[in-house]
Amino acid sequence: MALPSKVLPGFSASMWMQTTATPTPLSVANLSVWTAQVATIVGTSAGGTGASGTQLNVEAVPAFGQDDAVASFAVAGSRQSDKIPTQSAPTSMTITAAWNPSDAGLLLIRGDSQNGTIDRTFVVAAYDGTNTVAYAFNGRVSQFQIDAHPGAEAKCTFTVHPRGNQYGWSNT
């Protein structure tokens, strides 16, 4: 897979997703291909073409990666015990965004959460004005809550659960 080839000084991260209510997610191999694949999801403001993607206007891009899981062993007579990494899930991304009932992206997310089985390709893009490094993954939306507290701006919170092994890095 193509790995990020440079460190981007002074970049900004943004989050993108496929449009349409029933999208066809990218295959695992294509999640690592920028040209005509990941680039179509990332918009022009982050170096892509945006032909089949839209930006998710989130407060902050949350942490992503791999969760921790270990099996612990103790051997009689040994000073130290042992922790062996075991199979673990990709990190779920809980995201907060300002709730706007006219935002097409948030409405798609709400629809996904109500369905529960829609696989969609999401992209986290780091862009420095010239180059983009993209982390693309397929995921399903589970939680979706609207907090319309009268004392503050209405916001929504949703959780994307990335599918196991379905991710890739690409760059341009």
Partner: protein
């Protein structure tokens, strides 16, 4: 020109939603052919290149060196 076997393996990897490592491990291909196809692949930003890299990981190829006795 790839053999039908390698072509099928590349297409399988390019379209799968499973782990590339898991699938690549189970596909029978010629290590030499994979190495040659990888060397001939000019565009690295393609699913074919990603598939060939996954195949080469589990089908390493080292060209044999002819040793001459003195």
């Amino acid at each position: 020109m790839m053999s039908e076997q390698l072509q099928t393996a590349v297409e399988t990897l390019a379209s799968t939603f499973q782990s590339l490592d898991l699938v690549a491990r189970a596909l029978p291909v010629s290590p030499k052919e994979v190495a040659e196809a990888l060397a001939a692949c000019e565009d690295k930003d393609t699913s074919e290149y990603v598939a060939l890299v996954a195949l080469s990981k589990y089908n390493p190829y080292t060209p044999s060196v002819k040793v001459t006795e003195k």
